[in-house]
Subunit: 477 residues, 2 copies
């Protein structure tokens, strides 16, 4: 062994024995060089080796941290087409709302450990700073704005959204942009604009349950396209489905897909855009987690590859800044005018003060600084949750390790019924999101989604012990 | 002539000659008694006589004012069944959106005199005080509320709404109440909850154009029921229609109906509730103008007479306090749970800060004081507009004189095409709302709706001169 390999092995041993815990910093290059009396270059080589082995990872401005799953105990879930004996897509009537509401209703209790929640903890958001922006912007707002801004939204907010989009290559003319009451309104308006009751819509499987509810509400049929847990929707199966079935629209999350956390590569996004162009397929891109990336760069949205104005790009501030303010948007491509009119017929406009406050915050409040901190926090939380899973869950599970967002998707052993597990956990004051609510055909019966958007504490740690035991209890049934 | 009759005649002469202008105060009883050296009782008798003759009216805390139309020059519009050679109702496919949007789009220019606007002037609202409530309530709001309040709304706001409703006999259990993004969302959710595409819905004629757009969006057919310009919907025709046609829902504005300003009597509301009960007809009550009454008492809503939980009561703060905040509500009767779920699938929740601000304002801001002032202002504005109509419009017109709200409905001579008039007026910088946008069958071609919710000034006065001339120009075509 060379000197750097020896040093790397020393550190690896500390990790394996738990002396260095996942999420902890390892000594900086300078400190390690001094205390071990080896050159900085040797330390660098050692750390580079450990990084390639997946034991540690570099973090901007924090040096190197020990990774969860450093020993590779946790496998990635299977491609959903394999997990469910997939043969060929078909159209499914959607009837999930009752199930979804029964789950959501039962987890309302604020004392429950909210691992099943769809929102990150409000403690992670700069709500006080945002309140100051609210006060300031209301003071500066001319009275007539409370009426006139209803037609097209707060002008400053529109500017800020368009500017931020340009940073990811997402350029579109201002008149494509419609401010909405959260992304969910945007998604509803888009889907209603491009479909009629009875139409088929291609949708990821698993998919965010609210998207299934929208299909159900609009009496649309779901064509469920399997999703790779890391790379996103299966383009071959999508292409095959488009060739066989009269699909009228597609709904996709290209980055940090909910619930899998999968992100498509740029090449894949390009290919998807070719497919969309070939079928002139109206495509709704739900990109609400894009700001919560853990890497160095924000992912480019599908829309930035679309040259046919077919992609309706939907996002919001609910997951990254201001849950409850209910401000989202859509860049509606060629469908923008119709989407806008549909909004004027239903909710008219999102709340004017909320728009003004967010606009001021984006301009003066330090959004990028907040986001850097939020991303770091979420990544650390993910590591902590993975570690707890490693510790307390049986070894024959599979779990995603997404590069952004705040959800883990866990494939439990086939013997575990996640709806049953949901009830057992809830009885112990813990909520989880059971797999079947993410599928029109109520697949994923042995899967669960867990939210790591809450600050880690002993209560959450304890919840994982309990969940582990509950999962074990399925062994003998 | 008795002394009091003589004195009344003196005042009447001052009104007829224009020395006392409509909207002006006449001398108080005390002052008149002193200056004319007659007893207070005599002055009272004289004023009572003038009031009965319709020349003056008593106003709370302001004494007596000269009424517009004091000389009875202005007639009331005809019952809409008479005006349009009505025979029997039938179902009409709704296709008004293009027309409505072409009108609304063209009146966006803020320099236009907004007689066609649907909102009162923001200058009439206590926006600064409301901003203070926003600042305070955001400071006091616990962080988790931005997530937890999304499921059922701000608890304080819910309390305030329920308490205010009780004052008009509108009692319902708290779980019927859903806070919405303005009344329009409430109305949309209600109608979607109780209908399927293709269903028939009974609706007033003329009706608020947005309600027609909602019918169009949901692919519903309109059964247009004529409305008396003072007493509201024609119950005989409604009863006949319910007997003949498979009507699935009814949409009604029982007080200060838009655009006519008509208000149903309590007896009529009771009868309507009997009819609703007989057919178990889901009924949507749109009551957004209820706080803008000019009399001594707020009208009782239809819902307060409903013993079958069939009335879905919708209202908002957009017309009386906070346009652009987008906070409304519905007390959904037996349909409440379904309405709530539909909202959770589309917009989830109205903006939390807007809800908190309004709740604080209702509790501490002096809403009732504001409303008293607002009502007085609107009534005075109505008088001024009626006077301008008397002065500048031809004599063969008819105009409503509603007891609340901020709209006048004007029946012009049949030779006037209101869509043509709309274009001519717009070219001169004046917007009006042309009759056909208020009807699925695009009736009311010679009618217009004018908004008196803007503070009267020489520009508006001038606009009436211009409108008068434009109306005259139709004589020779």
């Amino acid at each position: 062994m060379t000197l750097y390999e020896q040093f790397a092995e020393e550190i690896a041993e500390l990790i394996r024995t738990g002396t260095l815990q996942p999420g902890e910093k390892i000594p900086s290059v300078r400190v390690a060089s001094r205390t071990h009396k080896i050159s900085a270059a040797t330390v660098f080589q050692a750390y580079y080796l450990l990084e390639r082995r997946g034991l540690i990872e570099a973090r901007a401005r924090s040096g190197y941290l020990v990774r969860a799953n450093a020993n590779g105990m946790l496998s990635e879930p299977e491609h959903s087409s394999l997990a469910h004996r997939f043969k060929e897509t078909s159209a499914t009537e959607v009837d999930v709302s009752e199930l979804v509401f029964s789950v959501l209703d039962s987890i309302k209790d604020p004392t429950t450990i909210p691992l099943g929640s769809a929102f990150p903890s409000p403690a992670l958001f700069p709500l006080q700073r945002l309140s100051r922006s609210m006060t300031k912007s209301l003071r500066e707002m001319p009275a007539h704005a409370v009426v006139t801004d209803m037609t097209s939204g707060n002008a400053n907010l529109r500017r800020q959204i368009i500017l931020r989009a340009m940073a990811t290559g997402n350029k579109y003319p201002a008149d494509e942009l419609i401010i909405t009451s959260g992304a969910l309104e945007a998604l509803n308006l888009c889907l209603q604009t491009v479909t009629n009751p009875g139409d088929m819509v291609a949708i990821e499987s698993p998919a965010f349950y609210a998207s299934l509810q929208v299909l159900e509400r609009l009496k649309l049929k779901a064509v469920e396209i399997p999703v790779h847990p890391r790379d996103g929707i299966d383009l071959d199966i999508l292409a095959d489905s488009l060739a066989r079935l009269p699909i009228k629209a597609c709904w996709i999350m290209s980055s940090f897909q909910n619930p899998l956390g999968a992100s498509m590569s740029n090449e894949k996004k390009e290919k998807l855009c070719e497919l969309i162009a070939q079928y002139q397929l109206p495509t709704i891109e739900d990109d609400v987690y894009t700001e919560l990336y853990f890497g160095l760069h924000q992912p480019k949205p599908l829309k930035s590859f679309d040259q046919n104005n077919l992609v309706m790009y939907c996002s919001s501030f609910s997951k990254s800044l201001a849950p409850g303010y209910r401000v989202g948007w859509v860049a509606g491509g060629k469908f923008a005018e119709k989407i806008n009119r549909l909004q004027l017929m239903t909710t008219i406009s999102p709340s004017i003060p909320a728009q003004a406050a967010i606009a001021d915050y984006l301009q003066h409040g330090g959004y990028d600084r907040h986001l850097r901190k939020l991303r770091e926090t979420l990544e650390t939380q993910q590591q902590k949750m993975l570690l707890a899973i490693e510790r307390y869950f049986p070894t024959d599970i599979r779990v995603t390790q997404p590069k952004g967002g705040y959800f883990l998707w866990i494939e439990l052993p086939q013997r575990v019924d996640s709806l049953q597990l949901f009830k057992l956990a809830l009885a112990q004051g813990i909520s989880i999101a059971p797999g079947p609510i993410f599928s029109a055909s109520q697949n994923f019966k042995h899967c669960i989604r867990l939210n790591y958007g809450n600050l880690w504490d002993t209560k959450i740690e304890e919840a994982f012990k309990v969940l582990g035991k509950l999962i074990d209890s399925f062994k003998n049934t």
